[in-house]
């Protein structure tokens, strides 16, 4: 299912990577932030929304990275180039990521920034929406968000253009070590 997900997600303009461990993921993110010139300057911040990944690795290995913050306020997110957040599930047949984003910082980090890095447990890839809704339902999730590729429009002359109100880049990082419920 990973291959199917990857093909679908890449097909709609997402970038898909996979690492074995949480520390590999940290390394990936840090080198990415550096490459994108993230620093302590408005417009160049990075915000990292709290979630299972940070719970697992702690903020220790990420301390002192210039421009990176864990308090996701609207002011900070609006001036951030990169937002990092967990996404709970990947849906193989449409290349979508899904999470309960009832907490607003999850949405701010994944909606206001120019680039969104999504951390996904490799074990939580499901086949389709039918399978997904056996794992997440509106009964206990108030804001179920699907994200499929970057923000797009074709409202001017039907020309596909990336990055309207949401991120212009979506980077999906599967982390094997995060596991996830095995099917």
């Amino acid at each position: 299912m990973y291959e199917q997900f990857k093909a679908r997600a890449v097909g709609v303009g997402a970038e898909v990577h996979r690492v074995a461990t949480c520390s590999d993921a940290v390394e990936f993110v840090l080198s990415f932030l550096k490459q994108e010139g993230v620093c302590e300057r408005p417009g160049s911040y990075a915000v990292w929304a709290k979630g299972p990944f940070l719970d697992a690795v702690g903020q220790g290995p990420l301390a002192g990275v210039p421009g990176l913050g864990f308090e996701v306020t609207r002011e900070r997110a609006a001036q951030a180039k990169v937002g990092i957040s967990d996404m709970s599930f990947a849906v193989a047949d449409t290349g979508s990521l899904v999470q309960d984003q009832a907490a607003p910082d999850q949405r701010l980090a994944s909606a206001l920034t120019a680039i969104h890095i999504a951390l996904v447990p490799s074990g939580n890839i499901v086949a389709d929406k039918g399978a997904l809704f056996t794992r997440i339902t509106p009964k206990n999730s108030r804001y179920i968000a699907f994200i499929t590729g970057p923000s797009r429009t074709a409202d001017i002359e039907r020309v596909l253009t990336i990055g309207v109100h949401g991120p212009e880049r979506l980077i999906v990082l599967f982390v094997d070590e995060l596991g996830g419920e095995k099917k």
């Binding site: 206001l112 929406k129 509106p138 804001y143 699907f146 499929t148 409202d155 109100h165 949401g166």
Partner: protein
């Protein structure tokens, strides 16, 4: 038709940008939609959607009440109303109570329906549309021309002009740059807004959830940043069970924009915290505005199965020529015609209902299984009931209901038409009639109608007998098609009977909403055709075949002449189109074609009624190939030729460009021969080639097959 309406049609037709953009889009849409549905059983999928939405429409009130209870239990405030005025008052009150100065909106057709923006602006509240297309038309002071792509009628040059004024800077037409301008201009408005207004694509009663489907990401910001969220939802968006979300999400993006899924889907179930720690105020307005009335009407209840994907517009041969604005200010296209007739008033649809050519393309792609052409026919019927027929039409139809007079006039026409006739065509008509021969010649009325020729053809006597229903065009303009049909059936040993009392099938009256006239035609024909004891009633005109096999019973029932229904059904059972019958005879070895000769390339045009109502498309193709032709498919082989019966006379300005496109597609195949199964299409297409001058022969399948019979 009003002059003003005709003028708006002509403006649209002469707008090269509009017709160019829409034409290209409709061609790409068909390909992309097919690709998006690969591996999916569309009939099964739309069956599930139609069933679930229809079930909700059956007890709308109950479902809305369940939604209200469940959403309120979660902390949302739900307001149900029938009245658009109350919607506006409610939203203004919420705005006042919360000291709202700035509103951001994500796309909502329901707010367009009630002209919400004007109401907010009047109260001094600033409103920004944030969907790119909606923002463009808001800045331009226009209305949406398409429910999914509101600014599809505008060029990048126009958008660049509008944006340049907004940002006080001369912008060029680079589209990604224009999109960035929108992002940068709207971002501060999102951050400053105190109220977000959205629509919803689905509302789920059992969980109190609303589902928002977008691509740009604006709905996520509208439902996140402002501290108050108001969702305005038409009650047709309600479904009972959460499980229905799956098929709708499977179909909506595929049908709307040919995507497997849009970039963003948000399922919101009750209020969530704001980023300052307070709880969001979530107001959900369930608006009725005539929808319950629609649900109670057996003919229009199906309209509530619509999921607002806009695919009916994308495949419509008329929409791609005239765009949305000809239809009105809110909902456009075929579905827009129906919604306007209900949400506004029936009278408002008087002109626009005439735009539908009844080709049935939309019925093939609708994920809610709506029969839009059928509902438009019903609008026509009700308009005629309410207002009566136009005088000229009434005069014509009174003749059509008197067979002897009608046929007498047709015979006379073969003489009267002479001054304008050259060869087999009328090329010019004088004065106000000249529109009818603009881009297309009309067939001259035959010197000798089929009914006179038939009398001279000796019939084999056997145990098998077919009644031939000719229809007006074959009888009086194309008797040679009738002769070919008789030859084919006789060759297989079938006796052909031709009851003289048969008359017009009633289609012209029916498609004009004159049901009483059509019903009388139906009764006269049933009487005439069932007198003979025959195994088949065969027709070589798909529109007539549809009348006999489908419409007679429906029409008679609609006018309450139920005593005819048994006979109508008996006739329907016997009715068969020519290609289907001949294919059967060939397969049974009762007919065969000459062998050994390569007849060269042929292309085939699918007639609307044959392909989409009678579901016949392979039979004529196989027969023509068996007869020795090499089939070369044309682009859009099953797109309407623009004839549509009297459509080409009521709206010749629309019919002509549709025909032109068809001629081009035929010529592009390189075939010098085009076959079709409908004399109406023959009339339109051969008349087009007569004026176009291209050396393409246009033939009814029956004639080509009869020429190739063995022995």
């Amino acid at each position: 038709m009003k002059q003003e309406f005709k003028a708006s049609i002509n403006r649209a037709l002469n707008d090269a940008n509009l017709t160019g953009a829409l034409g290209k889009f409709s061609e790409a849409y068909k390909v992309n939609r097919t690709k998006a549905y690969e591996g999916i059983d569309f009939e099964e999928l739309r069956g599930r959607i139609a069933e679930a939405k229809s079930a909700a429409a059956c007890h709308l009130d109950e479902v809305a009440e369940t939604f209200r209870k469940n959403a309120e239990a979660l902390g949302a405030k739900v307001f149900r109303t029938r009245d658009p005025e109350e919607v506006k008052q409610y939203i203004l009150k919420v705005a006042r109570d919360n000291g709202v100065n700035n509103v951001v909106k994500s796309k909502s057709m329901a707010t367009e329906e009630i002209h919400l923006n004007q109401a907010l602006l009047k109260e001094g509240i600033s409103v920004a549309e944030t969907d790119l297309g909606e923002w463009i038309i808001q800045l331009a002071g226009q209305t949406p021309s398409h429910m999914v792509m509101p600014a599809i009628h505008m060029t990048k040059e126009e958008v660049a002009d509008i944006f340049s004024k907004e940002v006080n800077e001369r912008l060029d037409t680079d589209i990604p740059r224009l999109v960035k301008v929108a992002r940068n201009e709207l971002r501060p408005k999102f951050l400053a807004a105190d109220m977000g207004i959205s629509g919803a694509n689905i509302a789920v009663a059992e969980t109190g959830s609303i589902v928002l489907v977008t691509n740009e990401g604006n709905a996520r910001l509208v439902t996140t940043l402002p501290r108050v969220h108001v969702a305005l939802i038409g009650v047709e968006k309600l479904v009972e069970k959460f499980e229905t979300v799956v098929p709708i999400l499977d179909a909506l993006p595929r049908s709307a924009t040919a995507q497997l899924l849009t970039s963003y889907v948000s399922i919101i179930t009750g209020p969530t915290p704001n980023d300052d720690g307070s709880m969001k105020e979530l107001h959900i307005i369930l608006m009725d505005n005539q929808r319950s009335e629609m649900a109670k009407d057996p003919k229009f209840k199906q309209a509530l199965q619509c999921i607002r994907c806009g695919s009916c517009l994308n495949v419509c041969p008329i929409f791609r020529l005239v765009g949305g604005h000809v239809f009105g200010k809110v909902y456009t296209g075929g579905i827009g015609t129906i919604l306007t007739a209900w949400f506004d008033e029936l009278k408002k649809s008087e002109d626009i209902q005439g735009l539908c050519i009844q080709c049935g393309n939309c019925t093939q792609v609708c994920p809610g299984k709506l029969d839009i052409p059928e509902m438009i026919m019903e609008i026509r019927r009700r308009l005629v009931l309410e207002k009566g027929q136009p005088l000229v039409q009434k005069a014509i139809f009174s003749v059509v209901n008197n067979r002897k007079l009608f046929h007498g006039m047709l015979r006379a026409a073969s003489v009267v038409g002479k001054p304008f006739t050259s060869g087999k065509f009328i090329r010019h008509l004088p004065l106000f009639l000249s529109d009818l021969t603009d881009g297309r010649s009309l067939p001259a009325i035959a010197d000798k109608p089929f009914r006179d020729i038939y009398a001279g053809i000796e019939q084999p006597k056997g145990k098998e007998k077919a009644v031939f229903y000719a229809g007006c065009l074959i009888d009086f303009a194309y008797p040679e098609t009738g002769v070919a049909l008789v030859k084919l059936l006789n060759k297989a040993g079938i006796e052909v009977a031709f009851p003289e009392e048969q008359t017009c099938c009633g289609a012209p009256a029916l498609y004009s909403g004159a049901y009483e006239v059509a019903a009388q035609n139906a009764a006269d024909n049933i009487e005439a055709l069932l007198q003979q004891d025959a195994q088949y009633v065969v027709s070589a005109c798909p529109t007539c075949t549809v009348a006999l096999a489908h419409e007679f019973a429906k029409t008679l029932e609609a006018v309450g002449r139920t005593e005819w229904l048994d006979k109508a059904r008996k006739l329907a059972e016997k009715t068969v189109d020519l290609s289907t019958l001949v294919k059967r005879l060939v397969d049974e070895g009762r007919l065969s074609f000459q062998e050994g000769e390569q007849l060269g390339k042929i292309t085939y045009h699918d007639s609307c009624h044959l392909k989409r109502t009678l579901k016949v498309s392979e039979q004529p193709r196989e027969l023509l190939q068996q007869a020795g032709y090499e089939l070369e498919e044309m682009f859009e082989c099953d797109m309407c030729c623009g004839m549509g019966g009297s459509y080409s006379m009521k709206l010749p300005e629309i019919s002509a460009p549709i025909l032109k496109r068809k001629l081009k597609n035929i010529k592009d195949t390189g075939a010098s021969l085009v076959a079709m199964d409908c004399p109406g299409c023959v009339l339109q297409i051969s008349g087009g080639f007569d004026q176009d001058g291209a050396p393409v022969r246009v033939k009814h399948t029956a004639e080509l097959l009869a020429d190739r019979l063995k022995g």
